[in-house]
């Protein structure tokens, strides 16, 4: 089990829910596929792995093909995506992806999503016992098919989900909050029900119109906005949530430099995630961590 973070990366070392991280920069779920990146960049990726923990793309109980294309739209200083969580499902993940992700030199956090508490429980019971897995992140930006409510937009739904999942594992449960509703009440609810940390922000709901037509551009109609365009929103929501909870906050949203990461930390984040910037620069995590290390050393205590 990979519990020691990449020793070659810059500090400062950080602790997150009992995980020792060599520095405070991880990836946002769904923004870096370490298995595909190994095919593109070879062993050099492992030798200079950009993150101090790796968060997997979200897995669901059954395989998903993802949304029909087009899936991307570039906005001013940002990106709208409607990918639709393509993944191999729980069985495919455990059989094919987990052995490869276990080779990474950093702790593995597995992101999971389901549309009912029973299916969420199935994911947690399938993933959490594996030694390769250090923690789980619950992606709750989805509807509960029974209530019809987006779990992450309802403190009651989110709290009830955590109450159901908390007894199933001793491993850290992180909750990815949605920015499309007030995140602080949801953060408080999941903390009260046993969550170990919260991460935010997820993408902001967004749409683009077909430049040569009158309908939506994206195959799924609408998607989520990320990148530099959302950084100011992320700073506000991280500040608000960090003030409301005592558990660690993982801050993300448009981080492209050490300064951006430092600002999220000053706003209350324990750990920072890089997402869309990795699309523009695959080694962005290395650069952000190095710049952040210098800034935090220089910052007044």
């Amino acid at each position: 089990m990979a519990t020691e973070a990449n020793g070659a990366a810059p500090g400062p070392a950080t602790e997150l829910c009992g995980l020792r991280l060599a520095h405070p920069v991880i990836n946002g779920s769904g923004t870096f596929d370490a298995i595909a990146a190994m095919r593109a960049f070879g062993d050099e990726l492992i030798a200079s792995f950009p993150f101090s923990a790796f968060v997997s793309k979200t897995i669901t109980p059954e395989p998903r093909a993802g949304n029909p294309p087009p899936r991307l739209w570039e906005t001013p200083s940002g990106l709208i995506n409607s990918i639709g969580l393509p993944n191999k499902g729980l069985g495919g993940f455990l059989e094919h992806d987990l052995p490869l992700l276990a080779e990474l030199p950093v702790p593995l956090i597995v992101s999971v999503m389901a549309t009912s508490r029973e299916e969420f429980a199935r994911l947690v019971e399938g993933v959490a016992p594996r030694d390769e897995v250090a923690a789980l992140e619950l992606n709750i930006s989805c509807p509960n098919v029974k209530s019809g409510l987006i779990v992450g937009e309802s403190p009651a739904e989110a709290g009830a989900l955590l109450e159901c999942l908390r007894p199933l594992t001793d491993k850290p449960l992180l909750v990815k909050l949605t920015p499309n509703a007030q995140p602080a009440p949801v953060a408080v609810a999941v903390q009260e029900s046993g969550a170990d940390a919260v991460s935010l922000i997820n993408t902001l709901r967004a749409a683009a119109m077909d430049p040569e037509g009158v309908g939506p551009w994206l195959g799924a109609g609408s998607g989520g906005l990320s990148g530099a365009a959302v950084r100011a929103v992320a700073l506000h929501q991280v500040r608000e949530v960090a003030a409301a909870v005592s558990i660690p906050v993982i801050g993300m949203g448009g981080v492209a430099s050490g300064r951006h990461a430092a600002e999220l930390i000053f706003a209350g984040a324990r750990v920072v995630a890089v997402g869309t910037e990795s699309f523009r620069d695959p080694a962005a995590g290395v650069r952000v961590a190095a710049e952040l290390s210098g800034l935090l050393r220089a910052a007044p205590a």
């Binding site: 593109a40 570039e74 077909d210």
Partner: protein
């Protein structure tokens, strides 16, 4: 069989522009890559200008994907040639790069062209079919095939004078041209020329390689399928990262589901995909 792909150095790097000149209505520019390996024909790079990337309206924001039109190991690194057409804020900025400026470069990326015998075990030669700006990767592939002694025929199609260029990259005589406006060569589609070539008895010993706009690629794919000719298509899809991270460049597979074009392509077998009609990026 998986063709040998060159592995990219991890991360992006700065490469200096050494040349930017007209090639018909297109631009061809060279960047000197001091670190990278030589790309395999069909592989691509993600490119962004070091400065002036992100204009008044905040675009371009992401890097843009381009396949290599030519490359040569020179003193100081590998010279990479790219063929561009100004069709949006990213290509517009890149068309205006000047010698001495620097580009952010990630690559080489993706699956390259496979040798003819891997595409068709009975292949006696190669037929390259290019359309518009999509002639770029075929220029490098033709050089490699000729160097290996593979008989190669080149068919290039263009819409009109405003979308015509890149033929100087081929530097060969066995080339046929089609233009929709008839200002050069055959008046009509490049697939008209391909259709005639594939009528002969030697169609079964051919391997077709195509790159061009979606409608042309789809016509090539369908024609080759009808005639039982093996083909490879160098495709394009909206792409944010180029290395499998964003899952944006989904292309529907013949058997259902999607492939990521950046990591499982951009060169695909014609029979792998359900269609080559992939909607563009909505403004490159």
């Amino acid at each position: 069989m998986e063709p040998a792909r060159a592995t990219a150095p991890f991360g992006r790097r700065l490469c200096e522009i050494t040349r930017n000149q007209a090639s018909g209505a297109y631009r061809v520019f060279s960047a000197l890559d001091p670190e990278g390996p030589e790309p395999a024909p069909g592989q691509f790079y993600m490119l962004a200008a070091e400065s002036g990337w992100g204009g008044a309206d905040g675009r371009p924001y992401l890097a843009r994907a381009f396949s290599v039109a030519d490359c040569e190991r020179e003193r100081g690194g590998v010279r990479l040639d790219f063929l561009l057409h100004d069709v949006g804020p990213g290509t517009g900025r890149l068309c205006r790069v000047e010698p001495g400026e620097r580009l952010w470069v990630t690559g080489p990326l993706g699956r390259p062209f496979a040798p003819p015998r891997d595409v068709n075990p009975d292949a006696a030669g190669a037929i390259l079919v290019g359309g518009g700006i999509g002639v770029a990767p075929l220029a490098l592939w033709r050089r490699r095939l000729s160097g290996a002694g593979v008989p190669t025929r080149v068919l290039l199609g263009f819409r009109d004078r405003e979308r015509f260029g890149g033929i100087d990259l081929f530097r060969c005589s066995e080339m046929r041209i089609a233009t929709e406006d008839g200002h050069q060569g055959h008046r009509g589609y490049v697939t008209d020329l391909l259709s005639v070539l594939l009528e002969g008895d030697d169609a079964r010993s051919a391997a077709v390689y195509a790159c061009g706009p979606p409608a042309m690629l789809e016509a090539v794919r369908v024609l080759c399928a009808e005639r039982g000719v093996a083909s490879e298509l160098a495709m394009e899809a909206p792409m944010a990262c180029g290395f499998g991270a964003c899952f944006g460049c989904a292309v529907p597979l013949a058997g259902g589901g999607y492939m990521r074009l950046c990591i499982d392509g951009p060169v695909v077998r014609g029979d792998q995909v359900e269609t080559a009609l992939i909607k563009g990026s909505g403004g490159h």
